[in-house]
Amino acid sequence: MKHLLALLCLVGLVSCDEAQDSLKIGGKDFSESTILSEMIAALAEDAGIAVTRRTNLGDTRINLESLRRGDIDVYPEYNGTGLVMLGQPAMSDGDAAMDRVRSLYQPLGLVWGDRFGFANNYGLAMRAGRAEELGITSISDLVDRAGTLTIGIEENFQTRPLDGYGPMTARYGMEFGSVNVLPSEERPSLYDSLLDGSADVIEVFTTDGQIADLSLILLQDDLNFFPVYEGAPLIRADALVRFPELQGALRRLAGRLDAETMQRLNSQVDQDALAPREVARAALAEMGLIEADAGLDVSEPVLVAHSPLIGADAETGTALRAVREAYPGRRVLLQSEPDPLAAVGTGDAPLALVAAVEFAALEDGGELSPRPFEAFGVAGQAYVHLIGRGDIRRFADVATLATGPEGSASHRAAQIIAAAVDDLSLVSTEDLSSADADAALVLAPIGSSVVQGLLEGGRLLPVDGWDSGNNLVRFPQLRQARIPAGSYAGQIFAVETLSSQLVLAGPVVVDTDAVGPQGPGASIPTEVSALSDGTVIALNNALGQGTGLDPAIRAAPALTPLLPSPPAAVNPSSAISLMTALVLVMFGWLIWLYARPERR
């Protein structure tokens, strides 16, 4: 009986082990692949299959090798890549390519599922203006100019043996003047390099959302060098046996994703910084393949407080991407606050995207007093946009100035300016529209949507004469800057104004207590807690801005350089020496007490 019981237990345990078998889903390290992996995961879960996500596993080579070794069971692949990985010539006919990869991969025990319905080819893209200026429409047009141009590519493209950078330049017979290579996971910033002019041409995926968003020119591949890359799941044959429901689940996605859909989804991840899992689930729910939000992970999101008044769309995206990178696996959400730092101070949000002016409060005496917050990294630069209404043409003519609500960046900047200038009264409003104000002040990055809206009924005024008096010293958070000509529609001249750094910030937690907050009976307060140094450094790296933090604002301790300490005195503290002496005397006394003769 006992033996039987033991045997039953053992069988139970073993079957337990089997029940825990899950479908391991890989994926490459860029947004589109992650979205597709998440879609596969969602459909598999919907079909009752347990899923282990190993998305963002690495490049094609790592995924394919993991798949062959059985470390993963399925990942989204492209048929063109499938051919190239086996050293086959590229094909431009999708159906033929599909038949070819199916027959090639079958002996390896790998099965190609039905195509998702879109092709994501490699391509080269340029800014419309630049391409026009150089007269380039196809890759062949680049050949003569390549020596003077910079191309931006990512590592994966650089290393691809048959359809990568090397083979492409060999096929077209060109040599670029310089090549910027980014790590694969920083793929979205290729577009940044195109926009800021550090690259003239970049390598893109034709389903990248940015191509449409930024109106880029996709260069024509006139030699048909880039093969067709149609997305399809690549599955281990034994996974189809282990999970009989898998084939049906994957088939539901067949042909459902066209290139436009994919561009939109990619854009949601790359531009709007939404989490791939949420994007994938929302898209599936929209197509009616799964129920909306069923089984969505309800982990506590990381909140980033920001002010919608500044309309800093690109900077917010940069900041969100950085936060997402620093908090892997967590949902990151924006929270609108007129005074984002106040939300951080009460512990409502761990992070805030704020301008440097928000780090100080203007006292009644006209002095700035620092608020207890510290910055983790630079997300951009916010400019004072002074927008005159009606026929107001000079700053000196402005008597009443509309600002955002009290505590907002706009209001704080206006307060500082009002403190430096005579006869300026402020009207704080919810949305910067006040009928009786002569002008409105927005502290926002150049190109802010809020400013664009306000400019329809007004014009940008220069904030001049700031360097007279001691303003530069008194208010170091505002620095002189210029909004370049042509930044806004109808802006012919550069506008002299002030600017302030836009940074990610959090609370300063002053803890001078030598006794740690931990301990066997201790309970740590959770209201406001400091970010760990590791997270701060991860955030700063993820923001990836070359600019350092404005010294006028307080930087997180992890970012401040360690100061060389001055030579210490040989006896740093006589009080401690005295205490030490007392302890030693006490030890002596204890020894005497122990050893002294017994009293009669």
Binding site: A514, G516, Q518, G519, P520, G534, E598
Partner: protein
């Protein structure tokens, strides 16, 4: 009262009124100060503690390691076979109940609360090396075991042994002052003894109230993590109210009923939780971690037990972690010591040391291998993400962790219950000990005293909860450790002098030959 227990050698003062009344007055004074002006009180007490902790950091590590060495000597040296009681006496409680009560009184909720969080903290930021690596994982387990292992239990062991020896072997009163009075057996003994007793009472009262405040917040954190309640002061006060009723019921029924039953229940639930984590977690990894931790902890103990960072500028780390833990254990020393002494009647010193120091240490190594080990496993091999959640909210670390397991909600609720019962057992043994301390060491103190102290602790805890300040609770909980360390050293001197008489082969102190000393128990 128990005046008849007094040896006739010197007249002991009647401590009942003195200790009870002086203690009450001091508690009222300090408590009132804390409630009226919590900021000043906190900064005064914490400032004092900080100064002592950083200024003479070496002292704390040295004495606690000294306690460990001393208990090793007592267990395996010439006095190992001395019985805490008459030579033919047998243990009052079964070994299982004894160990269950040790845990319930001595560590309790901390094990649950920090089981996941602490290894993760060290894994992510070990002193002097890069975090998040396999090497950091090794270091994390060793550091955690250093904080929760032999040192902690050696402090308790020594605190308890000095009391238990005089109580059960010498048939003297079970008080803080008893070992000290054997050193100062002249007229100076009376005030010194009273002072020691009052300090002991104060350390226990405030230590307990501070710890209960923290514990209530832990339960509250658990309830809001598992059931989604709003973490409000009202909820804290409700928890405190239920806690009060439970511990008063338990304490008034005495050690052999309420306290024993609850402790056993607690141990069973804790072991069940441990088994769930081992079976449904990475079993192989946990057991490998356990075996590896044993080897690594014991082999690195000699160096770690003396490890300070004078060259690396890591003094902040040492005081924030290792010394903070030692101070906490010391702060709980007077109360756990008397309680452990109370339940250890009839055991030999060797048995006592192994039971109080070695067995619990092995259990906590297993505990941390299971909880901390699984957490590190999640970070290293299972996708990670736990560490960020732990850093974001330590209070819910355990509950977040349990959500990785099947029926996580149920496990979370069980953990909540367990933390709560641990609080009850800590509070009831604390109330019991306070009543003993203020009734000249009466082993079964009257209900009146239990009521007085039970209510007083509840009032102090509720007051601290109303201030809503964790630093206040912390200051109350640990400040008593500093003066108590001196008292403990004096107790040890008294004990070591007295125990010499257990060895007939050893020369007695000079001038003592022929002197009729308090004889070893017949």
């Amino acid at each position: 009262m128990s005046e008849d227990l007094e040896s006739g050698e010197h007249t002991r003062p009647s401590l009942f009124n003195a200790v009870f009344i002086i203690s009450l007055a001091c508690v009222a004074g300090i408590g009132g100060w804390g409630l009226l002006d919590p900021d000043t009180m906190t900064s005064t007490f914490l400032g004092f503690t900080n100064y002592m902790l950083t200024g003479i950091s070496w002292y704390w590590l040295l004495i606690t390691t000294g306690f460990l060495i001393l208990s090793g000597y007592l267990a395996f040296g010439p006095y190992g076979s001395v019985r805490l009681g008459a030579d033919d006496e047998r243990p009052e409680f079964s070994t299982a109940s004894w160990i269950a009560m040790l845990f319930a009184g001595g560590m309790g909720a901390g094990l649950l609360f920090w089981g996941v969080a602490e290894p993760i903290y060290h894994f992510e930021g070990p002193p002097g090396m890069e975090g998040g690596t396999p090497r950091a994982a090794r270091e994390a387990m060793v550091i955690t075991n250093l904080h929760w292992g032999l040192h902690a239990w050696a402090i308790y062991g020594v605190c308890a042994l000095v009391i238990a020896y005089f109580t059960f072997r010498r048939k003297q009163t079970s008080e803080i002052s008893t070992p000290i009075m054997s050193v100062f057996n002249g007229p100076e003994g009376k005030p010194i003894g009273t002072l020691a007793n009052v300090l002991g009472v104060l350390a226990v009262v405030f230590g307990l109230a501070g710890s209960l405040t923290m514990g209530t917040l832990q339960v509250r954190g658990g309830l809001s993590a598992v059931f989604g309640f709003d973490a409000t002061t009202t909820l804290s006060l409700i928890i405190m109210g239920v806690l009060f009723v439970c511990y008063m019921l338990s304490a008034t029924t005495g050690v052999d009923k309420g306290i024993k039953i609850l402790s056993n229940l607690n141990m069973i639930i804790a072991i069940a939780l441990l088994i769930v984590v081992i079976v449904f977690g990475p079993s192989q990894f946990i057991l490998e971690t356990f075996v590896n931790s044993i080897g690594e902890y014991f082999s690195r103990l000699p160096a770690m037990a003396f490890r300070m960072f004078p060259y690396e500028d890591l003094a902040g780390w040492t005081s924030g972690w290792t010394l903070t833990y030692l101070i906490w254990w010391l702060a709980w020393g007077p109360f756990v010591g008397i309680f452990v002494a109370r339940i250890s009647r009839g055991r030999t010193i060797r048995e006592f040391c192994i039971g109080v120091i070695f067995v619990p240490t092995m259990f906590s190594i297993l505990w941390f291998a299971a909880f901390g080990g699984t957490a590190i496993y999640i970070e290293l091999f299972a996708g990670g993400g736990l560490a960020e959640l732990v850093f974001a909210d330590v209070t819910s670390a355990l509950f977040t962790f349990l959500n990785y397991f099947p029926m996580g909600e149920f496990l979370g609720a069980t953990a909540c219950l367990l933390i709560f019962i641990f609080l009850v057992t800590s509070a009831d043994s604390g109330t019991f000990v306070l009543s003993m301390m203020t009734t000249e060491g009466n082993l079964n103190p009257p209900v009146f005293h239990k009521m007085v102290w039970g209510v007083l602790i509840a009032v102090l805890t509720a007051g601290t909860l109303l201030t809503g300040s964790i630093p206040v609770a912390k200051a109350m909980a640990i400040t008593g450790a500093l003066p108590f360390s001196v008292i403990l050293l004096l107790q040890i001197v008294g004990f070591m002098r007295a125990i010499r008489s257990e060895r007939p082969d050893r020369t007695r102190p000079r001038e003592a030959r022929g002197h009729v000393d308090t004889a070893p128990a017949e």
